[in-house]
Symmetry: C2
Subunit: 124 residues, 2 copies
Amino acid sequence: MIELSKAEFEVLDAVWLGYPATASEVIVRLSDDKEWHEKTIKTLLSRLVKKGALSFEKQGRQYNYTPCIAREEYTLKESQSFIERFFNGRIAPLVSGFAKSEQLSQHDIDELKKVIDDWEKQQK
Amino acid sequence: MIELSKAEFEVLDAVWLGYPATASEVIVRLSDDKEWHEKTIKTLLSRLVKKGALSFEKQGRQYNYTPCIAREEYTLKESQSFIERFFNGRIAPLVSGFAKSEQLSQHDIDELKKVIDDWEKQQK
DNA sequence: AATTTAAGATTACACGCGTAATCAAATAAT
DNA sequence: ATTATTTGATTACGCGTGTAATCTTAAATT
């Protein structure tokens, strides 16, 4: 599995918003949420390339970056390893923890019900 | 929030198994799963103390370590920040990702249903 | 054509982490 | 009482990370 740091993931996340994307585009996308220096973001883009999370094509003197992995694929892997580490691979205790601490809204519950419903339909 | 590294968490996890616990006890508990050198584990115990995750009382020349936080409290915080980072704070997409990739068993589903059930009962 | 600009490449640097080895001191053994 | 042992404290060290600054070179401007 490709291992990304927190900051690297956030940059990749900005690329997932729409790609191919140039460095400048990524910088603009991040500028609202982050106080990162332009140079910092470029460093992170390079590291993402080196790690195989991004590829690029030259276009003039700019690069057009494209993710090498789908967001869902990456977050699924991360979720698996998270749940393995903290909850022995079982997902219910995580949800249960949220429930116990009043982190769940009716909306969350409805969404969860739908997930369960879909799962059961798809099962039969 | 106390920030623990992966290795630090695993050591703390061994303390949570039963406390107060001496370094030797922790070392024994970890010996099955981990190939860690005794010195490594002691380093991690010290770092956990420095970070405020463990406290200790001297007993002879040994220390008796006790966690300063409950496992559930810690994992809840971690879960929150995980779900924030990867799923914008919503829990259903995580579960949905598992469902889509066939990571869920009937048992998981049953557990999830129970969590939902309990939540709804407790709501009325 | 010469100069300025701007993009990516390279270099920097302190701090945390994994992974111990060494040091100091208190206790256990003789 | 000495010596050996064992515990925690201190030190070590390379690698990843956050956070850029500087360098190089190609493209844009004049």
